[in-house]
């Protein structure tokens, strides 16, 4: 750098300025790596006791994800991983997770735990990671089953769907128009629940008078969900209730309802975080909603990853492993591990939960 800088022409000076800055920026980043990245350097071997785990959520900086990852970190420590990392994109687009998977593959991470934004887009990258020796655990949102060893599911998809239907039916008195405000149109888990809801609505005579008039997508974006909720109420004046099987969607919809004339007139239920929903339960906008404990999801996924990495299970149906304080878990049909039943929150019990 010095010799270049001593040059006298303008363009050299400009170059020097750029090069210096680039180097500075990088050394800053490198500095960060030196302190925390040490584990990664030796973590690649994959041999006994030196195993590493990395969580790749749908996107960083999402409150629900943070709770899940909190459980994951705990689980990873308890399960005995030497290092556990969280990396991920800032936007939940289909392709944005791929280069993170690539980087982890190259680092030789033993277990990759992923909540897929798109079941197929991450496929080829996960294949490569497996070829390189990594074990893949999907959690929260499944990938195409071909690309992972296990899927740690919140709960039985059908149970989640049914409980939400029960709640809404109760709240609207068993008849009237309802709508669904979901996350992204491609979200694997939401789509599965919606499918079960539709089937149940058609089959169960108890729900014969309930009509599902619309499905809209708020893309797990606060503003968009808010406006979708608003549009629903305008387009369907007779709407009696809304199911929002996503934490962002239900909170945004609750916010809209609580600030509009529809408050108390249109029922709302779905899956929400107690901390986010507390004011809306208290002010009467929402009477009951459901969710499982997200922390358990991460916790179990970490133990599943450990069992896979140790070779104690392979992901076959019937395999079972110890998941710390949550006890033994068994791999079910389709390589799915269930975490636990959903909890229903209402004004009475909501203050007992803090997540």
């Amino acid at each position: 750098m010095r010799s270049i800088h001593s040059g006298s022409t303008r363009r050299r000076a400009a170059f020097a300025a750029l090069a210096t800055s680039a180097a500075l920026v990088l050394s800053a980043c490198g500095g960060g790596a030196a302190t925390e990245g040490g584990g990664g350097t030796e973590g690649g071997s994959g041999s006994d006791g030196e195993q590493t785990i990395t969580f790749i959520p749908k996107q960083l900086n999402n409150p629900y994800t943070d709770v899940v990852l909190g459980g994951g970190e705990d689980g990873a420590t308890e399960a005995g991983f030497v290092s556990s990392e969280v990396v991920g994109p800032l936007d939940a687009s289909a392709s944005s997770q791929v280069s993170f998977i690539n980087a982890e593959t190259q680092r030789g991470t033993n277990v990759i735990v992923i909540a897929a934004n798109d079941p197929d887009a991450v496929g080829p990258a996960l294949e490569e990671a497996r070829t390189a020796g990594a074990k893949i655990v999907a959690f929260d949102s499944d990938t195409n089953p071909d690309y992972r060893d296990l899927f740690v599911s919140q709960v039985n998809a059908k149970d989640v769907a049914l409980i939400q239907l029960e709640l809404i039916s109760e709240q609207i008195g068993g008849e009237g128009e309802i709508a669904i405000l979901s996350a992204t149109a491609n979200a694997t888990n939401q789509n599965e629940w919606i499918k079960f809801m539709e089937e149940e609505l058609a089959a169960n005579p108890d729900y014969a008078n309930i009509e599902l008039v619309a499905k809209v997508y708020g893309d797990d974006d606060d503003t968009k969900s808010f406006q979708e909720a608003q549009g629903l109420l305008q387009a369907y004046p007779d709407l009696k209730g809304i199911i929002s099987p996503t934490t962002v969607g239900i909170a945004a919809t609750a916010r809209y309802l609580s600030t509009s004339e529809y408050k108390g007139k249109v029922a709302l239920t779905g899956l929400g975080l107690p901390n986010e929903m507390r004011p809306f339960v208290k002010d009467g906008t929402v009477s009951e909603f459901a969710l499982w404990d997200p922390a358990q999801l991460g916790y179990v996924a970490a133990f599943a990853g450990k069992a896979l990495a140790d070779g104690s299970i392979t992901g076959e149906v019937g395999d079972s492993f110890e998941a710390g304080e949550l006890g033994e878990r068994e791999v079910g049909e389709g390589g799915i591990v269930l975490v636990g039943p959903p909890t229903v929150f209402n004004a009475e019990n909501i203050d007992d939960y803090d997540f």
Binding site: L60, N61, N62, P63, T65, D66, L90, D91, V216, D221, D222, T223, F226, Q227, E228, Q230, G231, L232, L233, Q234, A235, P237, V248, A251, A252, A254, R255, S258, T259, S260, E261, Y262, N275, E276, R278, P279, F280
Partner: protein, 349 residues
């Protein structure tokens, strides 16, 4: 020669003195006319098909939806009129919105008005940063604000991390600003209207306001003329930041959560609103009122399509067509006036 807007382009002799245009004629010449018409037609058609569209709640929602974009479009208009652009407004809004959430958590008893002032100051500082980089380093605004778009967003992410503040974290009175109405108008919309009015009067009726038009019309001439170009452009950016800050505070009032990604991707909507509202993308002409109506039109379309149960997938395409239409209409108008001029001059020679 299609883009030739040189003043001296016409090989012309003096044009005959036109008589004072009538009020009607000058109304018909308004740059904002097409967008006003489009808005009126849209609302009329939608209301005819779905009366709920113009119910009390419907109007309230329409106005609330447009409020934030309106304020941003006003600020953006100031900047565009000086032949600049600010792509970082979405990021500024996000930072201020999250800042607002943080303030309420840190100091729950702070008067709401103080939070507004702080938020706007914060925005103004960020705007000033843009303005200073552009005017002092003399670098194109497009590049600088593309850079600060990333940087501000990065800072927002670093600051917020996974933290989000929810409506429940803020005083009810603050949230009620976007619930309560006065004469059917939501409070925050009234705030926006006051802002639009103040800025509109400033742009139309004060010397610094007119200077902004002169600068956008021809920056070099403006400098040669003794207009303090640097100071005025800086002012435009500061005001834009201030308004983005205001929008950020209002965002926190209206929506449920503020966090790391609040307001991302808004910048193109804002520029689109200004363009649809008849603000020339290369400065010198256009009004804040036009931009405001542009913002109202864009948000109304979204609501209207939903209310009409039109396939929501068409929404974005229609917004695109609108923008193109605005640009084409503007072009046709200027071609027509140029032709009229040429004919007048040909006769006059």
């Amino acid at each position: 020669m299609s883009l030739d807007r040189t003043v001296g382009a016409a090989p012309a002799h003096p044009t005959p003195g036109h008589s004072r245009p009538s009020a009607l004629a000058s109304f018909l010449r308004l740059r904002e006319l097409p967008v006003i018409l489009a808005l009126v037609i849209l609302v009329a058609v939608t209301a005819a098909l779905n009366p709920l569209f113009l119910s009390e709640q419907g109007i309230k929602d329409l106005l609330l939806n447009a409020t934030i974009l309106m304020i941003l479009a006003v600020g953006q208009t100031l900047v565009i009129i000086t032949r600049n652009i600010d792509l970082s407004v979405g990021s500024i809004l996000g930072l201020v919105a999250f800042g607002t959430g943080s303030i309420f958590v840190a100091a729950p008893n702070l008067p709401i008005i103080a939070v507004f002032v702080l938020g706007m100051l914060f925005g103004a500082v960020l705007g000033a940063l843009n303005g200073l980089l552009i005017t002092i380093a003399k670098v194109p605004a497009l590049v600088i604000t593309l850079g600060t778009l990333y940087i501000f967003r990065g800072i927002n992410n670093a600051w917020a991390g996974g933290t989000q503040y929810f409506a429940g974290d803020r005083p009810e009175a603050f949230g009620n600003l976007s619930v309560d109405t006065i004469l059917g108008f939501p409070v925050i919309t009234l705030i926006a209207v006051v802002v639009v009015a103040i800025v509109a009067v400033y742009m139309l009726g004060t010397r610094p306001g007119r200077d902004l038009y002169a600068i956008g019309s021809d920056p070099d001439a403006a400098r040669l003329f003794g207009i303090p170009v640097t100071r005025r452009v800086l002012l435009a950016f500061v005001v834009n930041g201030l308004l983005a800050g205001l929008a950020g505070v209002l965002y926190a009032s209206r929506f449920n959560s503020v966090g790391a990604t609040t307001g991302s991707g808004l910048e193109l909507d804002v520029v689109a609103a200004a363009v649809v509202g008849g603000v020339a993308i290369f400065g010198g002409s256009g009004t804040v009122v036009g931009a405001t109506i542009g913002a109202l039109l864009l948000t109304t379309i979204t609501s209207a399509l939903t209310a009409l149960r039109v396939d929501k997938f068409w929404q974005q395409a229609i917004v695109g067509i609108l923008i193109l239409a605005a640009v084409v209409i503007d072009r046709i108008a200027s071609v027509r006036s140029a032709r009229k001029l040429r004919i007048a001059e040909a006769r006059n020679v």
